[in-house]
């Protein structure tokens, strides 16, 4: 874990240097985006979470427990991650797309992702990634089904048991449109 912490520190140093140089720009989600990514109780927000293996085999799966954090992070509960988890272990790049790309919500958020696994809370609560600590995330969102029970999910789809295994965290670096006629247009 010490190695990971040191590696993280070194990576963070070069990352912020590159931000200062202007190679990478910090992206701040708008209030409209934050609101759209957090509509619980009215059918819930659902998104498609896209990842890829290190060799480039893509994966796309629907997700329901979503929130935003600190203007630039998108959080998703790891309830049933399988291929997504394997991809995140070997490749940090990831994207989150609105499933209902209408009503001016035609966005794809893309950046680097990390999976805060539940075990970090006991093992290394101060583990830090892009300036956020494991305990910040896991104490607040580590038991998401209890915090926000998925009551709006239809009974025939709702799983009998929800056992969370972690929290996916996307550090958004770009937002582009999937509005017909403007697909690919950079928004942030």
């Amino acid at each position: 874990m010490e190695f990971i912490r040191k590696t993280n520190f070194i990576f963070g140093y070069f990352y912020y240097c590159s931000v200062l140089r202007g190679d990478l720009k910090m992206v701040k989600l708008t209030e409209e985006m934050k609101k759209a990514l957090k509509v619980v109780g009215k059918g819930g927000t659902v998104v498609y979470l896209a990842t890829a293996s290190a060799s480039g085999k893509p994966n796309i799966a629907g997700m329901r427990f979503i929130d935003t954090y600190k203007d630039e992070f998108i959080l998703i509960a790891d309830m049933f991650f399988l291929k997504t988890k394997m991809n995140l272990y070997e490749n940090q790049y990831s994207a989150v797309a609105m499933v209902h790309p209408f009503k001016d919500r035609e966005w794809v958020f893309r950046g680097e992702a990390f999976l805060f696994e539940i075990g970090l809370l006991k093992e290394d609560p101060n583990f830090e990634w892009h300036g956020i600590k494991a305990k910040e995330i896991l104490e607040e969102w580590g038991n998401w089904a209890e915090k926000e029970p998925p009551e709006e999910v239809p009974p025939d789809v709702r799983p009998p048991v929800l056992k969370q295994r972690g929290v996916y965290c996307l550090h958004v670096k770009e937002v582009y449109s999937i509005k017909p006629g403007e697909v690919g247009k950079r928004i942030l």
Partner: protein
């Protein structure tokens, strides 16, 4: 051998799809396809407008793998993920047919993305999450068709 069920076909064609590609370095890109047509048991043709194709072209130039899932309510009610290898069609009878049909939805087709489906996964939350459906007996998948509701997709949201 991959064989799409009638329910899968109906939902793919009914609501369109989110399509994901990736560079060989692993950067995923998502685009949408508003018109999709299943042309055989394991092939799906997507009509892509110029902008919808432009964003995934760099990926497809170096990596033909794509993953797609049904848009809109399909994420909940049609919990399938399809993976396959894509080819680009810019002329010929199939292109003409798909482009003509897509035009009825107001889509100016730039290319037809033809995906040969090789893997199908279940993305339904719960014990079925992650099931590889294409390796199960086709008859078992038909039973899921009957079990999962609704059998047909709702009208496409405007």
């Amino acid at each position: 051998m991959v064989k799409l069920t009638p329910r899968m076909k109906d939902w793919i064609e009914g609501l369109g799809c989110h399509i994901c590609t990736a560079s060989t370095k692993g950067m995923p890109t998502v685009t949408i396809s508003r018109y999709a047509k299943v042309i055989s048991d394991d092939e799906v043709a997507f009509a892509l407008a110029k902008d919808e194709y432009a964003i995934i072209k760099p990926d497809l130039d170096e990596n033909p793998w794509v993953a797609f899932s049904v848009s809109h309510l399909g994420v909940v009610k049609a919990p399938y993920q399809f993976k396959g290898v894509a080819s680009i069609i810019t002329s010929g009878p199939l292109y003409d047919q798909i482009a003509a049909e897509a035009k009825n939805l107001g889509i100016e087709t730039s290319v037809v993305l033809l995906v040969k489906v090789r893997e199908i996964y279940c993305t339904r939350p719960g014990p079925q999450a992650g099931w590889r459906l294409d390796t199960r007996p086709y008859e078992e998948n038909l039973k899921l068709d009957e079990k999962w509701s609704p059998p047909k997709p709702p009208p496409r949201p405007q």
